[in-house]
């Protein structure tokens, strides 16, 4: 019953959209759902489409994974050694405060357009993962750590039974946010740098050719890919943390 109601509401908004586009009657300013679906279906059989999607997914995933691994590693080390934490603090603050666009343009000068998306998603994700790793480890129950001291529990077991369960909820919630951010900044990097055969390039081209229908279609592609990516990664994370428990 609830799902039927949701479908009706979605249908309602699609109808509003279609009517609005007919009334505006200017295909550059506004395009209706029918035209967007038409554009979208025209994209699917193109080899270039799949190449661009694979390329963008690959680059942004790489940036995310590198940021995740280095974020957790440095987060753990910074938790253990205060001095490292102090040394990294200004760098992380910089990464958090500088607008992504500035980073992207700077990176364009340094490394060119090809790996721009990797860099942009790294710069956005790393501070999030690093900070939440530290916060998660700091949230470890001190009373449990005292208990571990009294019972002389070895470090490996402390990590598995005390530290990891404290860290994982922080990490998985920041991952969910970081994934979305990686996508947005990765695509933005591609639009600014226009590397060949990427989603961002096609987004940019649809602007150049004033093809609003293509713009919408590519946007839908981005949303779909981002949602899929998020679901896959969170599934992997859940499986991984499930395995740790037994």
């Amino acid at each position: 019953m609830k799902q039927a109601r949701q479908l009706i509401i979605i249908g309602f908004w699609l109808a509003v959209w279609q009517i609005a586009s007919l009334l505006i009657d200017n295909s550059i300013v506004m395009v209706g759902p029918v035209d967007v679906i038409r554009s979208f279906s025209a994209l699917l059989p193109e080899r270039e489409f799949w190449r661009a999607v694979a390329n963008s997914i690959g680059k942004i995933s790489l940036g995310f994974l590198l940021a995740f691994l280095t974020g957790v590693l440095l987060g753990v080390l910074a938790y253990a050694w205060n001095i490292l934490r102090e040394i990294l603090e200004p760098v992380v603050l910089l990464m958090k405060s500088v607008p992504v666009a500035s980073f992207i343009i700077l990176a364009l000068i340094w490394i060119g357009s090809k790996n721009l998306a990797v860099f942009a998603s790294y710069v956005v994700v790393f501070p999030m993962i690093y900070v939440s790793t530290i916060a998660g480890l700091q949230s470890t129950d001190k009373k449990l750590l005292e208990m571990a001291q009294v019972f002389s529990i070895p470090l490996g077991k402390r990590i598995r039974y005390i530290y990891l369960p404290a860290l994982l909820p922080y990490l998985s919630s920041s991952c969910a946010t970081a994934l979305g951010m990686a996508w947005k900044s990765g695509i933005a990097a591609e639009v600014i740098g226009v590397p060949a055969h990427t989603i961002g390039e096609h987004l940019y081209l649809s602007k150049v050719y004033l093809s609003t229908a293509d713009l919408f279609a590519w946007t839908i592609v981005i949303i779909l890919v981002s949602a899929l990516f998020e679901k896959v990664f969170l599934l992997v994370l859940r499986l991984g943390s499930g395995n740790c428990r037994h």
């Binding site: 449990l144 005292e146 009294v150 019972f151 002389s152 529990i153 039974y161």
Partner: protein, 214 residues
Amino acid sequence: MNPGTVSIQNLSKSYGELTVLAQLNMLLTVGKPWVLMGPSGCGKTTLLRILLGLEVPDTGTVKWDLQMSARSPVSRQRPNLPAVFQEDRLCEAFSPMENILMVTGNLFSRDQISQELCRLLPAESIQRPVHTLSGGMKRRVAILRALLAPGDGVLMDEPFTGLDEDTKLQVISYIKEKTADKLLLITTHQEEDVELLGGTLILLPFVEEPAKML
């Protein structure tokens, strides 16, 4: 043969303005349970924490003369003392079995641990996560953990909270069985526990008066 002693000499501990222990002197011998009682705030938990090495006293010393188990390295100054804290301090996401395995390592097989756990807990409860157990059951897991872990003695801080009378008697009999030749120090608020444990009462009053052994 000397069964072992713990000699507490001139122990003092203050937190800022508040003096919790003042010139405490005690001699505990291994053989019978020692039951520590006293009004809230008289320093029972502080004393236990100092014995466990979690707090450092302001003055005074603790001299250990226990038969250290074969597992304790000779160089250790402090013996192995598993404890039951006022809070359960269990890893709630894991089962009682896993909580015990955490501290016993290779000492016992899973079947042996299973057998021991079933002495005080219903069999179906030992494999599900601790957070699904009742307060009384969690307490029993904490007690089992302290008794099964390798140690030269056991310290328990108000271990019987949350246990009904029958369970308490069952637990006490199990404790006595497992600590027959180890140091056992328990704090409690209930005087009947002294007799149930067959132990010696130590009354720890507030700082103004010296401790009384009865």
